[in-house]
Structures are given as C-alpha cells and as structure tokens.
Symmetry: C2
Subunit: 368 residues, 2 copies
C-alpha cells in the first residue's frame, strides 16, 4: 500500500465530503477521479455488503451524453450490440469497440429519449473516442460530459432504503430499467443496476449541489438498516464474475475473448465501426477467453500486475484480478486462458510476485 | 493523505521496481499508470532537484504513435500550431484542441520521420481522440500506443550523468531536439526536454525490458553526482510556471486562456480541427487567463480542488495549483483570472478549504 498524492487533476466528487466523514481508508483513481476502495477493511466491507446496504460513491462512472438527431446513429456506431429494439427507459450493457474489434470501454448505455443518451463509462476517456468519431463522420450530435454523478445503493436491503427516500415506486423497477423519481424537487434517473451481485440501484445525480443532501438523506433514512458507506468490493465482484475494464480486459481484447459475445450482434449491428472485424471473430471463435480461476493457498499478494498462467513451463494465459474469498475459501480470480487450457478442471500454475501457486480453471463463477 | 489501492488497472511501469527500491513515499495516478509523487519529502526532493540530478519515472507520459502516409496530416489536424517548418529530430510543444478550441491535452510532439510521430501525452486518453478522428476522416494512418516509456533525467548535473551513459554527444543536443543514442545495442531517442526548469533530458525507452538495466546504469554512473530517484516536483513546477493538464487547464479552456496563444498559428494552421473557433478567440482575446498568484501566510492546505479567487465578494477566478516555496517564501500558485482582475499587483482573496487567504497577481513566475 502506498500513499496517494492528491491534486485537482484527480477530481473529488459531489460525495467526497460524505466519503471522508464515513472514514474512507483507501482510494483508487478511476477516470481521473477519486473512487473509494476501502472503509473498514476489504473483508469487513464485503460481509456488510452481503448482509445490509451500502452507499457507493461511483461518481467516477462519468457520463458521455449524446444529444441530437444523430445520437442514436452514433450510439450504434460505437457498439456491436444491436440497439434497434431498445426503448427509452432501458439500460443496456454495451461493449464499445474500435475498428479492429478491440475493447475501448464496457459501459452501460442509458436511453433517455430517441435523441438523447447517457453512456455510463468504465475507466477510459470514451468521451474522446465519441467526439472524434462524431467529428470525423460529421454527425449532427453534441457529445459532452454532463454534471451527472452516479451514486449506487447496493446490498439486500437496497429496496427498503431507496423506497424510503424515493417512494415505493422504485420497488417496481425491473433489472436494467430506470424511472424518474423526485428528490427535493429534482427528478432523478434511478436505475435498478450496479456493480455487485447483491442487488440495488444507481441514482444518476444530475447537479453536484444535491450530492451531499441526497447522501445525507439516505444515510439518515437507513440508520436502522445499518446503512454504511461502501464501494465496489474486489472480492465480491470476482466471485460474481463482474469484469473490470483495465484489469480484466483492455484494448488488446475482443468482446468475445471477454465472454461478451452474447452482446455482439455482428450480423445485424449495421453501422458499428468494429463490426467487420468482429464478424470474423464471431465465426472463428476466440483463441483465448476469460475464465474463473481458483487459486490454492491461504494468502495472496495484491494483484497489481498480470500474473502469468503456466502449464508445463509454457505461458497459457494470465490472471488479472485475484483475492482471498472469506465465503468460498481460497483464492478467487479472473484470468484470460488460451483455448488449449480453458476447459474446467485444467490444472495450472499462477506466477504471483511472491512465487508460484497452484490454480485450477472452474466451470463457473462463485456467485451466479 | 490517503492510501492508494493498487490493481492491474493502475499500471506499473518498466521502472517501478527501481522506484520502490529507492523508497517512493507517495504516488499519483496519471494516464492510468503510477506516477511517483514524493521520495524523501516534497521539500527535500525540491532542494535536491535544484542542486544535483534525479531520475524521474515518467513512463505515464504515454506515447501516441502516428504512422503512415497521413501521419503528418493527422498531426496537423490535432493542433493549431503550424507544423510545416518542423523537421525530423525536433520536438514541439503542441496544444491539442477539439472543434470548439477546448484543450484536449498539451503534449510534446516528437517528429521521428515525415510519416512517423510520437505524441508524448499529458493526462488524457489522446489516443482515443486521434483514433476517432483518423477513423472518421478515413485517414491512411495507424494510431496506437507503442511500448515506449519516458525516463527523465533532470537537474543541473543532468548533462554530466547522461554523457557518462550515452556519450558526450548528448551535450550537443539543443533544447527540444533529439538524437539516437546507444544503450546496450538499443538506439534510443534522447531529447533535451523535461518538466522542470533545472535542465535535462528525456529518454524514450523503447522496450520495457531495458527499463531497469538503464535505470540501474544511470544510478550506478551517477553515484558521485548524488543522483537520486525523483519526480516532477509540485513546488518547482509552479515556480517555473509549468502548467499541468487536468490541474491548471481542462477541456473547458482554450490555449489562449492558458497563455499558450504563441503556439496557435490560427492564420496558417490549415487543417486543424479547432482552427475556426480559435481564430475567433485570437482576434477577440481571452476573457480570463493563467496568472502567477502569490499567497500570503505560512502554511497552505493541499490544493486538491479549485480554490475560488474573490474580489469584493465576487468570484473572479480560481487557483488550481499551489504550494509553499522554500526558496521564494510564501505560497506560490497558478490561477485562472478574469481580465477585470488579471493586472499585476491586483489584490485578491483565495478561498482554500481551510479558509480565505490574501493573494496578489504577479507579473511573472518565480523561475524564468
């Protein structure tokens, strides 16, 4: 663990005052913004997330707004997922690819209207790709970053908490749908979504000035629910197989390698910039793919670099996220494995910075 | 100060092992990569930088490589600086702007050949803008991030140190020129440049595998020069008026606001995407501009957010970088000030998170 030197360049969020008051103990930096990484401890936060409810400052999931007559056309150019059936009020998880089919981001697209979209991004400046494409193709669309900061409420008691502040209507939201709900006269987009397997919501806080009032209202309303400040939990998200852009996939990977082939409609996504390259991949199949990996042993160092996966002295892949799991025992990990060794139960060695460990390919992640 | 949680997403560099062995005490994150921020202390590092010589791991200044028949055309599309007179072997500081003239980055362009450029970037994914523009305009150019990691050698003894490892030929390099110099059979680009006012070089380490051999060779060769690991120093760079993208300027600012009008040839930079918008700015002049600001008092909190600049109860600008200066006394700062209050000796108040301080606009930075 090292100290993080702060500056304006690493942006604070509308919720930073609340996060600090709640005793944040570690940060990561995500989209050049502070992302809380730990409060009590990774393990204590993990147990609490699975039992109660947490507020997550995920303002770093910045929005790219597309607005104008060509907004829908641009959105389809960015992703191989066929968007023709998507309605306002829906959220889609969309791989974003370049002309070679390499992953540029894996955001959630929020369709506000036919001519207005938010793209809630993972850790890369998707704004610049979208702006460059819009400019080059002379599209009739405005592309910018609005003053919108997501606040996630995650955990089994999320419905109860959010209903207390926004009304019981939120309980009827289906997964990856959103509605507009009132908070002190502001109609906010509230979606049933979030980066955990424990259920919950993401509130798109439009106007930084209501960030702390909303944070405080939720904290107050959830006192008897044991609401706490939390953050995306590295253990729980690995158990659930939730990939992290920059960790488990980069520009070097296709969606198919990342197990996201089901989001690639390469036959029908007309206009998608990477469609031709991905059609080829879809036909031939990837030669490496993301797999759940169990790692033996009682401890693991921090997975702060790719760990080579070896078989009979040859490199056959790499682990890019790993943690010790209190609930499932042993090390849980996400790796990219070559097809020669990706079958379940294949035994491998993973080379950590503290030495080799025995590992085995699993058939599924720990939480469905 | 907070703890930085590490993961593969925040990339290590080819020099990270050396940085850790040298006892790094704080990091920032820059282009999703580790950037050392302190070794002994900000003040001790500062004095040493001005007296001796330091190795800086600035691998986070990633390169965007443009390669192909349209490389020069794309480069000119990105910047309002007229590149027609630029020769291979030269480095140019180039503002990069979008179609509205907003700053996307302020990198150094390295012209390797007529059809091959490196853009050594500040903290934004310029790769995605360049790729998007190339794609949209169907340019005949490859755009990617090569395996090149800059290592800076800065300080008054930099010439002596670099000459010991690369030969006396490096002494003849003029400012912002580069040559190819041998290290263990690798011909590396060595430029006279760097993010301090103390002089020195940047070595474009092409091939991560020679990162640590080069680091160790320089450390060994400079032992009697008191070479140490260092990093861009927040105090020294403010004294020298070196702006920081993300701190002192963002997409919201034009180059003219940032005092970079002399790098904008809006009459002749034909093809630059933001040229039309900037021609307007160049004619009318900016309504706010970067200024050196002296702040009274004996201490300052961390400038981790914009500090409003006030005059007679009205906001007239903001400070975005600030530190206490051992050599010049008092607080040194960089601010953006409205034209009504930007004249030298104008007295203002700066609103820090610890309360207001008296401040005054200066006519020049502390180090020329």
């Amino acid at each position: 663990m090292s100290v993080l030197a702060t500056s304006r360049r690493v942006r604070r969020t509308p919720f930073s005052d609340g996060v600090e008051a709640a005793g944040v103990t570690a940060y990561s930096v995500y989209n050049r913004m502070l992302l809380p990484a730990s409060f009590r401890s990774l393990e204590e936060d993990y147990h609490h997330l699975k039992e109660a409810v947490q507020l997550w400052d995920v303002a770093c999931e910045r929005q790219v707004e597309l607005r104008g007559p060509d907004a829908g056309r641009l959105m389809q150019m960015l992703t191989p997922r066929d968007l023709r059936g998507m309605l306002p009020g829906q959220c889609y998880y969309v791989p974003i690819v370049d002309e070679t089919g390499g992953m540029l981001n894996d955001p959630v697209a929020v369709k506000l209207a036919e001519d207005r979209w938010w793209i809630s991004i993972a850790d890369s400046d998707l704004l610049l790709w979208a702006k460059g494409v819009a400019q080059g193709f002379r599209l009739d669309v405005l592309v910018d970053e609005p003053d919108v900061s997501p606040l996630a409420i995650q955990g089994p008691r999320a419905d109860d908490l959010v209903a207390r502040v926004f009304g019981d209507g939120v309980r009827d939201l289906r997964f990856f749908r959103f509605g507009y709900f009132d908070f002190q006269g502001h109609y906010l987009v509230v979606a049933r979504s979030g980066y955990s397997k424990q259920g919950g919501f993401e509130i798109y806080v439009h106007d930084a000035d209501i960030g702390m009032p909303l944070w405080n209202a939720l904290m107050e309303a959830g006192r008897d629910l044991d609401v706490r400040a939390g953050c995306p939990n590295g253990i729980e998200r690995i158990e659930g197989g939730l990939l992290s852009y920059g960790n488990d996939m980069t520009l070097a990977n296709t969606p198919h390698e990342c197990g996201l082939g089901r989001f690639c409609d390469t036959l029908t996504a007309v206009g998608c910039i990477g469609r031709d390259a991905l059609l080829r991949v879809a036909r031939e199949g990837p030669v490496q793919q993301v797999r759940p990996i169990a790692i033996a042993g009682d401890t693991l160092p921090l997975c702060d670099r790719p760990w080579p996966l070896m078989a009979a002295g040859k490199r056959v892949g790499q682990v890019t996220s790993a943690a010790m799991s209190p609930d499932f025992g042993g090390g849980v990990a996400i790796g990219m494995v070559r097809m020669t060794h990706w079958e379940p139960d294949t035994e491998l060695q993973v080379m950590t910075q503290d030495g080799p460990r025995d590992a085995v390919v699993r058939d599924r992640f720990w939480i469905e």
